[in-house]
Amino acid sequence: MTDLDSDIERRLREVLHAVIPHLLDADADDAARPGVRSSRARRVRVLAAAAAVALVALTVGSLATSRRHVEVVGTAPPQETATPVSVADEPTSTTSTTATIDPAQRPPDADLFLPTVLPDGFDAGAASYIARTDAAATPGFWTRLFVGTGDRPPVLLVIGGSEPSSPVGEIQDMTARSSWPSYRLAVAGPSGAALLASGGLAKQQLRALGDVDFAAQQPVTLPDGLTEVPYDQAPDTTYAVTWNGPSDRSVTVNVGSSHGVDALSNGITWPIEVRDTPTGQIFVSVDESDATFVQVGHVVDDHVVNVEARNLTVDEAVAVAESIAPTTPDVWAGIVPPDRTPATPLPPMGGTLPQRFSDRLGALADTDGPVASQHGDITVSLRRSGESDGCVDLTFGGTPTSRSCPTCG
């Protein structure tokens, strides 16, 4: 922790303890709400900051009828003036901040999904946009995430919502201020305003996506091998089962169809690896400030298993996720409370259940007893509903674990 971090935390404690107890005092001056009253000037600064990262939204008709895109160079500081970059110009050496993942735990052929932490522009910009769409109570707020293939897979995050006051047709090249190749923000959408945040896509490729109707929430076919993965920037609903093992080892599994791959959300802050496993694509992130914490996201059809592991190796956490994810609907029913349907379903993903999952389901259906797999000293047992309690059992080194489950107790 830096001195600045300590100072901020000290100030926060002091301020919150000084202010919050008095927020409802009857004799308080009703002049204004803090943060709003002040804050024409502050809001101007905030908006200016938002503008500096070019979070712009487009009115639909204008883009649809007049596809004019404007390079934004005036909003960035002079030293960060955007530089047109082609695909060939993209830098490739971007691994400087990924050393927190122990190389010994990483398979040699692992693709690096996000080469480094995302640039400040992405985080602040996307969060600011989300905050403002939240503030406007935009009913149609949504996010969709698409990833490509290859050693440096392109990533496209689409954030939908209305922002009628924003300029039309802007694209900002963030490359000059970004450690993420070809990072740009733009907004497009024939039937609704949308923010496109891209890594690894060239400007021309991004512009081509302006014709795609992301806001319709229907499956879309994208060029460049981009396929959609479940994603929700701000998950509301989680279903959790926790296994507590010895020596502070624990595994928490969150299951749902509405909250996407949480590891990807963390990836806004921390590096993420993507691993192609026999059971599908698995995303791994390690907390840069806490190496004992590993998070794994495993997409199974339109469900997502997020594994939070404490004091497990990355490989162990991945193996647990891989074991748990492709399981039967009966076991899902045992993990996910049946009366808790997701409040906001993900947009249709298209496609069918991958064959490898169908095979796994068939094998499990033919099995009388529990299906177990072994990963180091961790045993994962999947039990069919009705045979036991329909849940997943984890054993750490043969030591019984305590389990907290919303449905099984």
């Binding site: 971090d5 919050i20 308080a28 803090p34 943060g35 709003v36 804050s39 985080d123 907390d287």
Partner: protein
Amino acid sequence: MPGVVGEPLLPALRHATATGDPGAADLALIDALYRAHRDELAALAAAITLDRELAMEVVHDVFVGLQRHVGNVANPAGYLHRSVVQRSISVLRRRRTSSRHPLPRPAVVLTPEIDETWQAVTALPVRERAVVVLRFWRDLSEADIADTLGWPVGTVKSTLHRALRRLKEQLR
């Protein structure tokens, strides 16, 4: 019934009592909880919603909710805090933040540093503000915040990280 639970009793709770008729012991417990925790819960809701009346609505709604389930709630105080935070976030996401009943200026002498920092806190997105309030006012651990919000721990970590980074930029 009022003789059992005493006054003041929430108007909404009184209405619920008239229709739901929970046991007298439950009502006495709820009333005691209300007396013990109302101010703190209201302040917590106000810190998140930045709306005085909305904060009170949140607290009252949560107590009415507790009235329906009090027999099944193992830790009523924990339930109340968790519900207030979650409901504060939820209602704010559904409403325009143009506050109908804006918060009063805190009845405390604010130094420029405190004022500036509080302004920065109020400018945070609601989820980040909730995490900051829970971490630095309620002094909850990240795991406890995750439990309170019903989020994965990783989401709490990343949300807090983003909030602190945003505050550092604002207050630099």
